[in-house]
Symmetry: C2
Subunit: 144 residues, 2 copies
């Protein structure tokens, strides 16, 4: 697999995960997450160690939305060499929470991958919003 | 340079950056940041595009502390292959702000690097704290 093929494979993986979020399909979302993956998520705790913890968090997150989740990926940048790769992007999350509140926020996303047996697997993911120093509040209304 | 040497070089780079933070030495902190680096920081905006933006942010951050900045890196995990690498860790930041408030917080850190001309350069960095859904506040009191 050459570098362009690897970039294309990672791009496809990221798009497949976005579709899994839209469909609230936990198993598809988790299909390419390594059992050992360390996840830093937009909400606490500080980290989710392992795929099982990430799966429980995804189930909880999907359940917190009343209907489908909107997701839009912008400025996806991919670097890859040999059996290692990473990418970052800005991602818009939208929808209506089960508690009735509308969500429309941009998050920052970094995903790190390794290739084993010709398959790319996510070994680390970091998703966040910045906070405002003056108020100590998460900045949920920023636009790229 | 073999894989162990590359891991060692990245570990040294991360430790050198921690020391640059303790010393509030902006130029040393920025020495291995690529001009094109995209930074997602713990505070807004969503991103800082390029090393110049990251440098201005670091100057502002250092100036916000009255004295030295304490920094402690835990659970540093490095992956490297060929001319690409990344690492993640939990990092404690401590000290006293110029406005008098004590800071003692843990952040999540992801750093992505490429090697050019036998030198590792940071092309992406992502630092954050999670937020609490119920309050909308940044979670500044979490411990690993």
């Amino acid at each position: 697999m050459n570098q362009t093929d690897s970039e294309e494979a990672i791009k496809t993986l990221i798009e497949s995960r976005a579709q899994a979020v839209r469909d609230k399909d936990v198993e598809r979302l988790m299909a390419q997450v390594d059992p050992s993956a360390i996840s830093f998520d937009v909400v606490g705790p500080l980290r989710f160690a392992g795929a099982d913890a990430a799966r429980r968090r995804a189930q909880e997150w999907f359940a917190s939305f009343a209907g489908p989740i909107e997701i839009e990926i912008r400025d996806l940048h991919i670097e890859v060499a040999a059996n290692i790769g990473y990418c970052h992007s800005l991602t818009r999350i939208g929808g209506t929470l089960a508690v009735g509140m509308k969500v429309d926020m941009w998050v920052r996303s970094t995903v790190c991958l390794v290739k084993r047996d010709e398959q790319w697997a996510i070994v680390h993911q970091h998703t966040s919003v910045p906070f405002e120093v003056k108020t100590g509040r998460a900045a949920l209304d920023l636009k790229p």
